[in-house]
Amino acid sequence: MKAFDAVVVGGSIAGLYAGMKLARGGMSVCIIDRKSTIGVPVRCGEATGNLGELSRFFEPQKSWVAREIGGCALHINDSFCVKQAVRDAGVVLHRDKLEQGLADEAGKLGATILLDTVATGLYESHRGKWDGVVIENGGAVKGRYIIGADGCESKVGQWAGITRPLALDEVASTIEYHVESDYCNDGFLHFFMGSTVIMPGYIWVFPKGENHVLVGGGIYGCPRNNPKVKQYVDEFIKYRMPGARCHSMITGCVPVTLCPRELTRRNVLVVGDAARQSNPLSAGGIMNALEAADLAAHAMLVCKGNEETLRMYSRQWARNQRRQQKLYRLLRNVVVNSSDGEVIALARTGSRLFKGELDRSKPFKLPIIPTFRLIMNVLPKAIRHCRALAG
């Protein structure tokens, strides 16, 4: 079989975008995926950055956007709600259409896409270098570089020794229903927290279209004696949206931990959920996956076979996003270890940072007194958490 410049394992957003960028850069690319259809099923809350942010990577099509987001609302139990309007907050996607669009574009640029193809290991030649991936039912897809974009369960990262299996406290167990209802369907992203709703995690209600919302939930860390996330979300729908019709249900796993320091080994790279690059607080990962795929593909295009240059991808990621991940992980631990009253106090102080509509396209100056109060609120818990981690 023909040897490609790059083999991408995983035909989801990170893999497709990386494949597209590499093909545009002149590389021969083969993208393989175990699924039989690109983009289906959608295992994602589908809320992401705004069109300006997406257009850094590709030209977003109108048909990929289900709804523009008008802001966020945080509900804690039934006793507290704070809403913040945000201009250009982001969009809720039709992620299946986006991924199919990226696959079409990658195909036009010359990338080969093999569906129903399961990678079972790295193909190692006598030179001690990985020369592609072994596929189920015999044979191999050969390539000079291998990208593991195979999601949370990433086998490529583990075969190459970049990642290890996730521990239970490093993942969120998630579920989402597509519901025919107008509950909270006001264009805002609604987040529900609190001990009477779900613990430890949150339930979301995202607008998907007229009379359609996405209702999902995620539990951080999957505590062994906790009720399952499905029970929490089923209860939520039953009591808050009586009579609502659920069209579909999906489940998933999201890494809510730090990505490894090294994201490459020899000629193998990992991107997206496979590299644990999602946000440890929100569990969102679309923008992170695109950013990572962009950096990885760039490093591959300029490295000319030099492993040290390829590692530029890890360094660039560590310099920017890994630091943010640390902050979000700390915030999550502060929130998870706070009582309902403490979370309400935090949210109330946080809401005073903004007056009126927040415009993401303009620089934002934090007001001194509310910011100081928020820091004083968070700091003692953060220090306690860091001490607990150290000790």
Partner: protein, 77 residues
Amino acid sequence: MMATSNQKKAPSENSIAGLYIDQSICTFCAGCSSVCPVMAIQVRDSSSEISGECVDCGNCVAFCPVSAIKRSTGEGR
């Protein structure tokens, strides 16, 4: 440590070491495979199975959002 496999397998399911995946409930999200420390769970488009490498740690049972992974006694952990 390998788990003992003296428990009875559920006849119609993929079952090793006392754990099996109920195919009628599984949504094939592969989350169980993400938290399996020994890569013993293979998930395909519309099937999933636990192989002989299973060490019976119970991570998959704790993770599964829809309680599709069960012990062959018929109960989750």
